[in-house]
Amino acid sequence: MAKSILALCRHAPYGNALAREGLEAILACAAMDQVPSVLFSGDGVYQLLEQDPVAINEKSLRRNLQALPMFGIEHIHVCRKSADARGIAADTLQLAGAEIVLLADTGPFIRGFDQVLSF
């Protein structure tokens, strides 16, 4: 029986490699027919903001996030408290081709998985 996997993304893009590594791990899992669920919480919600990192010589992480639906990830789970705490209007978050699912309480959601990868 396939194991259910959750990628828990908790870090902002660019400041360290975790956001990029998380995204690559998600795409790798999905490419191996182990489509993970994805949850952005804490600073991870910053990954969903519009980005233009050309001036810091970085590829846009957000543009790479847009590949998620093509890999079978149609629901992007976001911790509402984390967005609110950071002054991000959770309801305006969107990602082309995917549905943003706002979670009021991430604990029960995380509990439902067999494997959790933290980034």
Partner: protein, 93 residues
């Protein structure tokens, strides 16, 4: 039930706060490495009641005396915890 593992000091980062935000009654919390500093005063750091563990060796190394409410464990007991809980979530940075 989820096993949450933290290795950051309580005020040294957001790991403890983030973890507590996803902690559900019945989950277990394991403090390792620098997180054992929270085990000296669980109430002050708002640690949950019940299932709170700390790696005794890490606490001893840092001169932290575990509070009554925190159970000191060794690596073998850590493995038992991992076997008994699904999923295991690491709050490492």
């Amino acid at each position: 039930m989820t096993l949450h593992i933290i290795n950051q000091s309580p005020l040294g980062g957001s790991a403890l706060q983030d973890c507590l935000g996803s902690f559900v009654e019945g989950d277990a919390l394991l403090l390792i490495e620098d997180a054992v500093y929270a085990a000296a005063s669980p109430a002050e750091h708002k640690l949950p009641q019940g299932q709170v563990f700390a790696l005794a060796a890490d606490a001893q190394a840092r001169g932290v005396t575990l509070a009554q409410a925190v159970t000191g464990i060794d690596e073998t007991a850590w493995v038992d915890l991992c076997v008994a809980h699904t999923p295991i979530v690491s709050w490492f940075r």
